[in-house]
Amino acid sequence: MSFLQRSRLFRSIVRHGLPDSVRNRALVTFTNFFLHIQPVKVRLRAMQFTRTFYLGGLSAACFFILVVTGVLLMFYYHPSVPRAYEDMKDLEFVVSSGVFLRNLHRWSAHAMVALVMLHMVRVFFAGAYRPPREFNWVIGVVLLLLTIGLSYTGYLLPWDQLAYWGVTVGTNMAAAVPVLGDQIRFLMLGGHGVNENALIRFYVLHCVVLPLALTVGIALHIWRVRKDGGLYLPPKG
């Protein structure tokens, strides 16, 4: 182990020793790209499970699972009619673990929507939305809308009855916007009804536009939490 540690290759990747001292443990957080979003030290009060229930972190974890399973699903999916639905059947009967893959993506998506909502409720009742964090709350609302948007655009992709009519109901609501309603629906669907154009629009939004926006949004959200002094804790006393 120590031989490995002293090797030039290892030292070029990790620039500190084993995390056996306070200094090295600080360096683990400090010098690691993935861990540096966290502070080196956290207050014990912020570590209590009931403080956050890890809801924000678990929302992000769901997003990670969704990206991994989503990319795998993209290998088996064609956004065209009727191929999209046939691909669902292929996932069920041809692809190894295809059903499991789709299940995991589907249930993680529902879990993410629920977790983001619960996260918002938790943050509200903790009073963490108040100044100076008010704009981060606004970013959080945008992230909730993006999450719902991601879930909803994904809802159409299997191209079954559930998908088709679920999206028809939703986009008909958009058509109720005064003056611009029909234009907005046309913009969403690329036509006057849910058809192949709608499928490709929802596909591109689901796989490219919204995940990118959400990634940037999450980064901004966490960055602002750090800049505001980490997790919100009520003043003591």
Binding site: P19, V22, R25, A26, V28, T29, L35, Q38, V40, K41, R43, L44, R45, M47, G57, L58, A61, C62, I65, Y85, M88, V99, F100, R102, N103, H105, R106, W107, V113, M117, F125, Y129, R130, P131, E134, W137, I148, S151, Y152, P158, W159, D160, Q161, L162, A163, W165, G166, V169, G170, N172, M173, A174, A176, V177, P178, G193, V194, D228, G229, G230
Partner: protein, 239 residues
């Protein structure tokens, strides 16, 4: 500073080169909003990172087990000719779809959700009783009466403005109104009443929104069947 003869005399001039000794005042490094704390802390690595890792594994395990046990729904291929009855949106939109039962699409699908999103955005800028001062100082019967009148007006609005009385909104409205009025009517003696009296107005508005949204979503998901008729999930199943 041990030599008393050397005294610093500040000199004012426009030419910086003319000043022989310059004194620079450097502010101690401080973040604008982060306050130094003497609270007990611990190292993020390994204590926090380990907990997060366990939380991630627990979530993954839960989702994997769920995915092994329950299959994602897949119905027959989309058919524009064949409208299922009822046609339901995904669960997080069923609160809105339930509202469609009471209000025209412009109200249920555009105005109300737009209003909700707008309210959520302005909530931190909405500076009423934000600092958690008690709404009621001691007993205030006129105050309680005011809250109850507003509650009654909102309830009446939601009873008569819709095609059917919107009970999922009316009942939470009365409930939250009573919670707000209780400490003013009864005083703050038990700790619960004191707690209620010291909640902020945004707290009550958010609580109201949360109960309404949950009620509408639960009814839309579990209690609605063909033609959006009222069904019982244990008797008729979930549509």
């Amino acid at each position: 500073m041990s030599d008393p003869e050397k005294v610093l005399v500040p000199e004012r001039t426009d030419d910086a080169r003319a000043v022989k000794v310059r004194l620079a005042v450097v502010q101690d490094e401080e973040r604008a909003t982060v306050e130094r704390t003497d609270e007990p802390e611990c190292m993020s690595f390994p204590h926090l990172v380990l907990r997060e890792w366990i939380a991630f594994l627990a979530l993954s395990l839960g989702l994997v087990v769920l995915s092994l046990l329950v299959n994602a729904p897949l119905e027959e291929m989309a058919n524009p000719e064949k409208t299922p009855n009822p046609s339901k949106a995904p669960w997080y939109f069923l609160g809105l779809q339930e509202l469609l039962h009471y209000y025209p699409p412009l109200v249920a699908g555009v105005l109300l959700p737009g209003f909700v999103v707008l309210s959520l955005i302005v909530v931190p800028y909405f500076d009423i009783n934000l600092r958690r001062e008690a709404i009621w100082r001691g007993r205030s019967l006129p105050g309680a009466l005011k809250v109850l009148i507003v509650t009654a007006l909102i309830s009446l609005f939601f009873i008569f403005s819709a095609a059917h009385p919107v009970w999922p909104i009316v009942v939470p409205t009365i409930f939250v109104g009573l919670l707000m009025a209780l400490p003013a009517a009864l005083g703050q003696r038990p700790a619960v009443l004191h707690w209620l009296a010291t909640r902020s107005l945004p707290f009550y508005i958010f609580l109201w929104f949360l109960i309404v949204a949950t009620a509408l979503t639960a009814i839309g998901t579990l209690f609605r069947g063909p033609g959006w008729s009222f069904t019982l999930p244990w008797r008729d199943g979930i549509y």
